[in-house]
Each structure stands twice: as C-alpha cells, then as structure tokens.
C-alpha cells in the first residue's frame, strides 16, 4: 500500500492520445474565442470558410487536387533534371528550364520543316545528346575543380546561349506542340463522382502516367546497372570514382543527356497543355521551390516536392486566392519554400547538412 502511495502518479500527458486531444481542444477553444472577436470575419474567411467549401463541394476539391497533381508531376520532372545533374556533378544547372524549352522547340521546329513526327523525336534526342557532349567538352571540362559558383555561372551562360540559339533557328513565336501527331490523346474524361462532375483532360492523364513510368525507369536504372552504379559513385566521391576507372567525362555526358531526355519529355507534356514558347522558362523556375522542399540530392524528394508544390498552389489559389484578390499561384510556391528554408534547410529528403568544426 505504502509503496503505491509514494509512486508518482502517471502523467496524463504521457499518452499521445490525451496530448492530441488537448491540442485539438485548445485549437477549438481558441477558434471559438477568435470567432467571437472576429467582427470583420477575416479569421472566418481564412480558417473556416475554405474548409466548408471543400466539404460542401467535394467534386470541386477533387478537380482542384487533380489539376495540382498534374502540374506537380511536371514540376517534379523539371526538378528531376536538376537533381540528376546536381547529384552527379555538383553543378546547379540553371539551364535545365531552358533545356525543356529548347528540346520542345527543336521538336516542333523540325516538324514544321517537314520532318515526320517520330523521326523528329529521334533527331531531337540526337540534338540533346550533341548538346550534352558539347557542354561537357566546352564548359565542364575546362572548368573542372573550379568552385561550384563558377560552374553555376557557366550554366547561366548556357541558358542565354540556348535562348539565342533556339530563337535564331526556330524563331521566337509561340508554337503549337505536335501532340496529335505523337498520338497523345485529346479531349477530356468526365467522371461522375461525389455528386458532381469532374473533368480530367486525357493529356493530363497521359502526362502523369508517362512521368511515373519514366521516374520508375530512371530509379531502376540508377539502382541496378553498372552505369547507374557509376553515377552514384561519382556523386559520392570523385576521387574514389576515378581510382576504380570511372571516367568523369563519360558520366557527365550521360547525366546531361539523361537530363536532356527528361527535358524533352517535360517539354512535350507541358507544350501539349499550353504551347511551346520561351515563357515556359518561367514555369521551369518553379523547380527551385520544389528542390528546396525535396532536397537537392534526392530523386524521391523531387517527386514529392513537386506534388506538394503543385497541389498546394492550386488549392491555395482556388480557396484562399480570392481573399487577396487572386493571383497567388505565381508566388505561393516560393512562400512555402521560404518557410521550409527556415525550419528544414536540407529539404524533406535531402542529405542532412553536417558541418565539421
């Protein structure tokens, strides 16, 4: 008896359920008080109304999430191009965005010059390969062992070169992507769900599928093949990779070419949704917040980050945008990324930053 009496009473807070309940209760109370004090209805409009809308019109919610998902997949693809190059060579490739435009432009430009669609795809792949070889020879090789910032600046140079080169060859006017000639589906599927109509563009479904397939293929390639192993090895330690006879130059060409393939596929998909123009480059910059979110070195990070940014910005625009007069889609991604930088600078999946002192 006496020993029970002296034992300290178990803390209620030890149970996670109780803790969670308390937090929820506190939020409810705070909201209740807030609503009382909230004469101008600001809090209501921010914290209650959007969620009420979501519940009342779930079909709209599904539609919004779907649209976010699709643009998220495309962001993820662009980010994937960045991650590939960053992992293997430590270069932050500012030109990835313009590579997307350049690839799409080359494809459409060739088609306009009378080359059959699928032949044009093959030739474009050839062009991306030539580009990879050229970049390795002309830019990376002379700059080997230079500080990262110099290589970063060099990719700015590549960006402006590609803009000029693309414009000189194919003109600066927006072009129509040759989606039909590539047998990409057109039109929409209407789904009758949750008491409403949700309309899915077929091209979006195709984009999501192709992107997933490609990501899976890349992951398998990295995991199970000699070249994939060599790529990971180079990413880990240049000097050890050299000592086992891996040629850095060859790996760089492969990585830039892979990024070029990713760029072409992204360009086709994105071009099919809008059109092919240099404005796409701005969209490609969205990969930055995606990378901050997912971590610069992580392929899964690029994918998850892309989806979060895509869905987040569509939901934000649709439900919270009207509060500030709309148009928040263009900056919300950067805002989310800023928040991440404050609390988790290495991103969701990035390698933990450990600084030895």
């Amino acid at each position: 008896m006496s020993d029970i009496a002296t034992r300290p009473a178990p803390s209620l807070l030890a149970s996670p359920l109780v803790k969670f309940g308390l937090i929820v209760a506190a939020i409810v109370v705070a909201l209740a008080i807030g609503v009382r004090l909230d004469t101008s209805n600001t809090l209501y409009a921010i914290f209650v109304d959007p969620f009420q809308q979501m519940v009342q019109a779930p079909d709209l919610l599904v539609q919004t999430v779907w649209e976010g998902l699709v643009s998220g997949v495309l962001y993820a693809l662009i980010a994937l191009g960045f991650v590939l190059i960053f992992k293997a060579s430590g270069v932050f490739n500012f030109a990835q965005g313009i590579m997307v435009v350049f690839a799409a432009l080359t494809l459409v430009g060739l088609y306009e010059k009378g080359v059959p669609a699928f032949l044009a795809v093959i030739i474009t792949l050839g062009v991306m390969f030539a580009l990879a070889v050229t970049i390795e020879r002309v830019v990376l090789r002379p700059l080997v062992n230079q500080p990262d910032i110099i290589l970063f600046m060099a990719t700015f140079g590549i960006t402006y070169f590609l803009i000029g080169f693309g414009e000189a060859l194919f003109g600066g006017n927006p072009k129509q992507m040759i989606a039909e000639q590539l047998y990409l589906p057109k039109g929409a599927v209407d789904l009758q769900i949750l008491g409403g109509l949700v309309s899915l563009q077929k091209i979006d479904i195709a984009a999501a599928l192709i992107a997933s397939l490609m990501i899976a293929a890349l992951a398998a390639f990295f995991q199970y093949t000699r070249i994939g192993r060599a790529l990971r090895a180079v990413a880990d330690s240049h000097k050890a990779a050299l000592s086992v006879g891996i040629s850095l130059n060859q790996i760089w060409v492969i990585v830039w070419f892979t990024a070029g393939i990713v760029a072409l596929i992204t360009g086709i998909m994105w071009g099919a949704r809008s059109d092919v123009s240099f404005a796409l480059e701005i969209v490609a910059l969205k990969a930055l917040p995606v990378l901050i979110l997912g971590g610069f070195t992580s392929i899964p990070g690029a994918i998850v980050g892309g989806l979060i940014i895509g869905i987040g910005e569509k939901l934000g625009e649709f439900y919270w945008g009207p509060l500030v007069g709309g148009g928040i889609e263009s900056w919300l991604a950067y805002f989310i990324a800023l928040g991440f930088l404050l609390f988790r600078p290495q991103g969701l999946f990035g390698d933990k930053i450990i600084e030895r002192i």
Partner: protein, 271 residues
C-alpha cells in the same frame, strides 16, 4: 657467395623479377613547393614494395603520380614497358593499377556489395543500350561479376556487412571494403596508402594477412606506404625511403634499417 641462399619468403627470387613499373627522375611542384625532387625507383613483378619516410616526405604524392591524380612536371613513368609523361586516372585504372586511400574514400551511401561492384566497372563491357534494358547479355554479365565480388567478400571475411551502407561501418571494416574494391579490379599493381593507419593491433594483423594472401594467391604486385616499421619490415621485399621529397635510401629492409641517412631522418640528427 655466388649461390645466394634462397630465403623462405622467396625475397631474392622476386627481387630479381622483371620490372613492372619504374619511376624515372620524377619531380613534382605545387607552385613554389617542391613535393618530389628527382626521384627514381622501380617496382618488380610480384614483389611487395614499401615506400616509407617521415610526414610530408612526398609518399602520397608519389602514389598520386603513379595513378595519374597528379602530373609530375618532370620525369617519366614506365608501366609494363609503356613510357608516359602524363597519366590519366581512368587510363591507369584500365592499365591495371588499383589503389586505396589514406583517408578511406568509399561511396558512403552505397552498400558494401555495390562499393565492391564499382571495382568491376572497367571489366563490364556491355553497352548503354543493354544496360538500360537490363536484359540479355547485360544481365548475364552482371551475374558473372557478382560472383567474382562474392568471392572477394568471402576472401576478406566481410559477408556480414554485405548489404550495409559503408558510411556506417567502423573504420577498420571500411579499410577492408576499400581493399575489396581495389581487388575487384583484378589489378596488376595495387597501391596501398597507409592500409593500417588508425587500426588496433588485431585489425593490423588481419590486414597484414590479407596483404600477404593477395600477394601470394593472386601474384599481385603491391606498393604500400606505411608508418608502422614492424609491419614494413615484415611484409616488404624492398623498401624505398623518401625525405623532403628526395630519395635517401633503397634496398631490402635490412639494408635500409642499417642505413645511416635513414636513421638520421627518423631519429633526427644533431647539426
């Protein structure tokens, strides 16, 4: 004294073997700092050659020249009868020179198995296309090489860490994995940069045994840098001694031990 006695390890026989690699009048500078000045020596087929010297003597720089990380400003390296002024690391690797590093350089995120598999990179010939498909010839090739790697893992007794990422392993085991990666290249010349640094006695004994086994079983020529004099004297057939980037002695362990310059370099000399 014409018929020289043949000792148990066969030192004298091997010391007379043909020259696998010779370094001729190598000089290496970093700006104004002379790392190596006019050093020549040779490594004969099948021997264990030690490179010793006080800290900063240029031993690691020498290895870096041999496998192409550094390009010496003067001098030449003759490897398997081929004379070159310049060497590229992956060319050296293709020619059969493998190495380990003073501070282990492994692929930390990859498993022991994958690390050692990277050593097979140059042996795998199937092209990009088959690789991408992961089928047919590429798959058979992968399996064949995997078998070799498993043998090396058995040899080094590291079965229990095959699937672990090497970054998490204790230092002694990392050194062993690094040796495994070098062995996977089936090198003709193996360069070991302080293979026993930072190890305890038991680990050192293990490592010595592996080095001798590699030398005996596979006939691999080994050049090693080591600070533990006991180890150097036991293992090596011939020793070259560097001090301040210059060669001060070259010969069998006993000769080197008796050399006055070497004693001065290690113990210091009153000026």
């Amino acid at each position: 004294m014409n018929a020289e006695p043949i000792n148990v390890t066969g030192t004298l026989i091997r010391a007379k073997g043909e020259v696998l690699l010779s370094v001729e009048n190598i000089s290496l500078r970093f700006g104004g700092v002379k790392a190596i000045t006019d050093v020549s020596f040779d490594i004969r087929k099948g021997e264990i050659r030690a490179i010793i010297g006080p800290n900063g003597a240029g031993k690691t720089s020498m290895l870096n020249c041999i496998n192409g990380f550094y390009q010496p400003q003067e001098g030449q390296i003759v490897f398997k009868g081929e004379r070159r002024a310049k060497m590229r690391p992956h060319r050296a690797a293709a020619g059969g020179i493998a190495r380990t590093f003073q501070n282990v350089a492994l692929f930390k995120g990859m498993s022991t198995l994958d690390n050692i598999m990277t050593g097979r990179t140059l042996k795998m010939k199937k092209g990009f296309f088959w690789q991408a498909l992961r089928h047919g010839p590429a798959m058979q090739e992968e399996i064949a090489h995997r078998r070799v790697v498993e043998d090396i893992i058995d040899f080094l007794q590291i079965e229990h860490i095959r699937k672990l990422p090497v970054g998490k392993l204790p230092y002694g085991l990392q050194k062993r994995v690094e040796l495994g990666r070098a062995l996977a290249m089936e090198p003709e010349l193996l360069l070991l940069d302080e293979p026993m640094a930072g190890m305890n006695l038991e680990e050192k004994e293990d490592m010595c045994r592996f080095i001798l086994d590699v030398n005996n079983q596979f006939g691999t020529t080994i050049a090693l840098i080591e600070h533990d004099m006991g180890v150097v004297m036991d293992l090596s057939d011939r020793v070259v001694v560097l001090e301040y980037g210059r060669k001060i002695a070259d010969g069998t362990p006993d000769e080197v031990k008796a050399n006055q310059k070497v004693i001065d370099a290690y113990l210091g000399v009153a000026h």
